[in-house]
């Protein structure tokens, strides 16, 4: 049975931080067109959080353009999507990423009182490990472990799954028909 102290620490801060995050993301959505025209579905803040999260998992994912990879494919027709998520749950792909990013922020605020962008490398690693172990405290939807799985795949795609990535790993690409661009 959950004690009153634990209830307070779990629920009140959660509600508090959720409201902050929602307000923050909502403001970001409204300001999106002003802040940055280059993302089509994600807000700049969402894209930055996703890029930082993916870079914690696969070094170089931000520089390889993981946020733009996700964003551009969410903006297009599902049939043309290059995202691995389409294999496993294509019902609301944009909502999946948005909610996942919100979950990262919620968890980060809950644990460290910081946005993910301001978290230290060690704090970011703790969040990644919590997602891997399904031990997040306030982030529940989408399943953090599954979000980790998908976002890690996205990061692996852009860093290791391109022709340049193959070169970096010393894997001969040997294309029949080379891709027109990385993604």
């Amino acid at each position: 049975m959950m004690g009153r102290r634990r209830f307070l620490t779990r629920v009140i801060p959660t509600t508090f931080w959720v409201n902050i995050v929602i307000r923050s993301l909502s403001r970001n959505a409204e300001a999106k067109t002003i802040e940055n025209e280059s993302y089509k579905v994600l807000t700049t803040t969402e894209a930055e959080t996703l890029a930082a999260w993916c870079t914690s998992i696969v070094s170089g994912a931000d520089q390889a353009g993981v946020a733009r990879f996700v964003d551009e494919n969410l903006a297009g027709d599902q049939a043309a999507s290059l995202l691995l998520l389409r294999y496993l749950d294509a019902s609301d792909m944009a909502g999946f990423y948005r909610n996942g990013i919100m979950g990262i922020e919620k968890e980060c605020l809950h644990r460290f009182g910081l946005s993910f962008a301001r978290a230290t490398v060690v704090q970011r690693m703790k969040l990644v490990e919590a997602a891997i172990a399904s031990e997040t405290q306030v982030w529940t939807d989408p399943d953090p472990n599954f979000f980790y799985f998908i976002s890690r795949s996205d990061a692996v795609d852009v860093v290791y799954g391109t022709q340049l990535g193959f070169v970096d790993l010393n894997v001969p690409y040997l294309a029949h028909i080379p891709p027109p661009r990385s993604w």
Binding site: S59, L82, Y87, R152, G161, L174, H176, P179
Partner: protein
């Protein structure tokens, strides 16, 4: 709503994948006027881009499927979308069901029997392997049949690294049988073994519908209509004859395509769903569902992949996506231990690129950061794998249904698949996992680990049978009570065995096409 009406054809086939395109080519060459309806867009060989990222466009992009149970997932990965369907990204593993697989109920008192036996299907397996072009050597653990038309693809470095483990276990590892050309065959070139099979094979060394069936079908005058999503099969007022197919076109308009013979050749889930969506006052629960069997006895294969790192270089990026080698020894033993049931087959040495579901990175999903980078650099040179397929009992509780509370993008009830692995089959998989780790350790792997349990392949749901009260079709895929309505595909399988289904699917198509050809006068008005 007013439907757009089209001129009647003799045969309309729903689905342009391996089952549909093979059926269309066969019946077109037999002189029938044939139209194929494909839900997805037109595909060209140029769409087969060598990239795990870009090839995702070949996969399913139709309505979502709701999945529940402990052996589901990745339906969208298995299915295709557009000309050729899943035939554009299949792995070309080519195996025959074993004689016992057809009689599981009689022999073991569980699962089901097929209405036919191995000997009934054997000539059609022979025909299919000649038609598709199969490379392989004789394997005494495989069922009898004609010699394969091409020699086997040689052992890869992955297989060479793993083989000592099979030797130590006293198991025979053989070359694989694949619908991939080891030498030029039937006007198609031989394989370069560059490991891009599941991104599509634009050179045509792997038998895919764009290079095999569709050139034949088009030459025979078969028409292919894209972006035509079948909504239902219509029957006459008596309910005893199919009269055509209603489909939605790209603009969402209803079209009526009249036909003398209707053949549903969709992927497994959609064959069952289409018959359910076709319910009418004479068939209130769907066509072929007078006995409530439609949708039931859905099956899959339970798999686990054994991964390992070896001291020698294994060139994991090379070879074929399917498997380089195979172990069928022990397949016949469906009761390997108390409480465990089902056959198993080892598919060894699948080509692996760094990314995607079957890539080396996802072999260790828990790794991230520098540890992941270090692992990938090692795995790119030293990785090896093998996958075990295990049989799932065919039980009525595992099924495809319609979920009327949820509509798909076309406004039709969503398909729902429920599939949970019976305990005896799960125990069988556990034995195989232990065996696999033993093999890798005996082969000298410096690190060996087992992946999670996953499903592969989808079968059943419109099962064939002699007893119309317990099946949906007869052995030719002819729907009970509606003689001119046929089903083609793995949805017909009463039991799945433990091997990839395409060779059996193809053999059944040839058998059904022959039935339609030889019963032409009875089936056409």
């Amino acid at each position: 709503m007013t439907k757009i009406s089209h001129d009647k054809v003799e045969v309309v086939v729903i689905g342009s994948g391996i089952a549909g395109s093979t059926m269309a080519a066969e019946l077109g060459e037999a002189g029938f006027t044939v139209l194929v309806l494909e839900a997805g867009p037109e595909r060209q060989l140029s769409d087969m881009i060598s990239s795990q990222i870009w090839s995702r466009r070949l996969r399913w992009a139709g309505p979502e499927v709701r999945e529940s149970g402990d052996l589901v997932g990745a339906a969208n990965f298995a299915m295709g979308w557009g000309t050729g369907g899943a035939g554009l990204h299949w792995y070309a593993n080519w195996y025959r069901l074993h004689p016992d697989d057809f009689h599981v109920k009689s022999l073991y008192g569980r699962s089901l029997d097929w209405p036919i036996g191995y000997d009934d299907l054997r000539p059609w397996y022979d025909r299919a392997q000649s038609y598709f072009g199969v490379s392989g050597d004789e394997d005494t653990n495989a069922p009898p049949g004609e010699p394969y038309p091409m020699p086997a693809i040689p052992l890869s470095k992955q297989s060479q690294a793993i083989k000592p483990g099979f030797d130590a276990e006293g198991l025979k590892l053989t070359t694989n049988t694949l619908a991939v050309n080891s030498v030029p065959y039937d006007g198609r070139t031989s394989c370069l073994l560059d490991g891009w099979c599941d991104a599509g094979c634009p050179i045509g060394a792997l038998a895919n519908p764009l290079v095999l069936q569709w050139p034949r079908a088009r030459k025979a005058g078969v028409e292919l209509r894209h972006n035509a999503y079948a909504e239902r099969v219509e029957t006459d007022p008596s309910g005893s004859k199919a009269t055509g197919v209603v489909y939605l076109d790209e603009q969402g308009r209803e079209n009526l395509q009249p036909a003398d013979i209707v053949i549903s050749a969709c992927h497994t889930i959609w064959n069952a769903r289409l018959l359910m969506l076709s319910a009418n006052d004479k068939h209130p629960n769907g066509l072929g569902n007078g006995n409530e069997t439609l949708g039931r006895h859905f099956t899959s294969h339970a798999l686990t992949t054994i991964h390992g790192l070896f001291t020698q270089e294994t060139e994991p990026h090379l070879g074929v996506s399917g498997a380089n080698t195979l172990c069928l020894e022990g397949y016949e033993d469906k009761q390997p231990a108390k409480g465990a049931f089902g056959s198993r087959a080892w598919l060894v040495g699948q080509a692996a690129k760094p990314n995607d579901l079957l890539g080396t990175a996802l072999a260790k999903p828990e790794l991230y950061g520098e540890t992941l980078d270090a692992y990938l650099r090692q795995a790119s040179l030293h990785y090896g794998n093998m996958t075990v397929l295990c049989e799932e009992d065919s039980i009525p509780e595992n099924r495809v249904t319609l979920d009327p509370s949820k509509k798909d993008r076309y406004g039709l009830p969503q398909a729902h698949v429920q599939n949970s692995l019976p305990q005896a089959n799960a125990s069988r998989l556990d034995l195989a996992r232990t065996e696999g780790l033993r093999i890798f350790n005996a082969a000298g792997a410096t690190d060996a680990w087992a992946g999670q349990r996953n499903p592969m392949h989808m079968m059943g749901g419109t099962i064939m049978g002699d007893d119309a009260s317990a099946s949906v079709t007869n052995s030719y895929g002819q729907v009970h009570e509606i003689d001119n309505l046929f089903v083609a595909g793995a949805s017909l399988f009463p039991t799945p065995g433990a091997i990839n289904p395409t060779a059996t699917l193809a053999a059944l198509v040839f058998r059904t096409a022959d039935y339609i050809r030889t019963h032409r006068s009875e089936l056409l008005p």
